[in-house]
Point group: C2
Chain length 248, copies 2
């Protein structure tokens, strides 16, 4: 749920060690304030983490140990209520930050569980060292604030969706949301793209049931707004029409 468009560059940490990922991944401008030497120092202290689909990275309530970014794959942020019900409060795609519990100095606990939806590759930095870096580079913190504000904005948009939109609009909005995210990586429109989530996760994310999601997707398909090739691959021809269905 980062939102912003980022420059397509390969100038961040974890990049130097990415002999396994030859593709240039979208790297945020978070690192811009850092000096060249600092950047390599950062890379040196970073570590990779690979997660298979379904595996958890952190668990809500655990101590927050590190700050990280997503290299590839998709993850979901799940917030669990006391009574067992859970709600997906956000998704993370390549180049997004994992800093849910991040907050200045002091010890903090994770505020949501992070679970890999597809195979997930992370780049992690120890918190204490990252904190020191923040103290040294105030501009880095400034960018982090930007990011947090952006995320807050996106989250509030989801509030509108959850509070006011119909099932049809929610599903259409979700498709557009994913398309936009995918679009940052590779052109999605007309070519089509895969929904990274299964029906259960989609339902969880937009506050519906599996059945309702399925029915609405069928309706969009029957009405010719989208074309589906398998339950996950979506192509939409008329973006305008889909946006109308989403309530825009």
């Amino acid at each position: 749920m980062a939102g912003e468009k980022h420059a397509l560059a390969a100038d961040g940490p974890c990049q130097e060690r990415s002999d396994v990922t030859p593709l240039p991944f979208r790297q945020s401008d978070l690192w811009a304030p850092l000096l060249e030497e600092e950047l390599s120092a950062l890379s040196a202290m970073s570590r990779r983490k690979q997660l298979a689909a379904g595996q958890l990275h952190v668990i809500q309530g655990d101590m927050a140990r590190d700050f990280g970014t997503v290299i590839s794959g998709v993850g979901k942020l799940v917030r669990d209520a006391e009574d067992g019900r859970s709600q997906i409060v956000g998704l993370v795609f390549a180049s997004d930050f994992i800093a849910g519990a991040y907050a200045g100095q002091g010890a903090h606990r994770e505020t949501s569980t992070i679970e890999a939806v597809s195979p997930l590759e992370l780049c992690l930095f120890p918190r204490d060292r990252f904190d020191r870096l923040l103290t040294r580079y105030p501009k880095l913190e400034s960018r982090l604030l930007d990011h947090a504000m952006q995320e807050l904005l996106v989250t509030r948009d989801w509030m509108v969706l959850l509070g006011r939109k119909t099932a049809q609009e929610r599903v259409a909005s979700f498709i557009l949301y994913v398309a936009e995210k995918m679009d940052e990586l590779n052109r999605a429109e007309q070519v089509g793209f895969d929904l990274p989530l299964g029906r259960a996760d989609i339902a969880d994310f937009i506050g519906l049931t599996i059945e309702t999601v399925s029915r609405q997707m069928t309706k969009l398909r029957r009405d010719g707004v989208i074309v589906m090739d398998g339950p996950k691959h979506v192509t939409y021809i008329d973006a305008h029409q889909l946006r109308a269905r989403a309530g825009f």
Copy 2:
């Protein structure tokens, strides 16, 4: 939607000029990193703004001109969708920040409309000067980041409410939310407190209609969970029972 408990102190800007507000208001620890002299300089450049109920402070889409805090009263953050539907994405009480559009350097637009619900008194700082202050005091920015993260957390909790909770649970949650907020100012439980919002705003906030809110309040009243004296004054005897109704 600040969330955190703050020390009951009177050490912030706007305080020096508060000859009209003899009561010590809860002041956040945001200003702690500042020197004494800086604090008075900050006070000097701050200005007061009084709003009657219903008046707008900023409008979604406008240029963000200043950073501010609430001195007294209650305001609502309204996010308008393109098609006219609107959703209240947050409330601000005394000592909360108004920094919805805040984001590091550069020009930004307001991401929501702020409307006074009850007579609202604000303390405002020009953006550019506040920005300069941030550059000078990185710790100030760090606190701002803390605050943003906290707000993100609260907002995500509301996502769970909007996505998963029933009408009954939403209304009960809202009452608890307000009680908690009021509690930071003066003890609310057993004494009772006033809901700052009318039915229409409550409905908007928790994603229901006026009628459903009304019905659920009646139900809570009939079931003996709350006592009402007029449509706004609420007292709850058994906090545990109310929490159960809220889904906790």
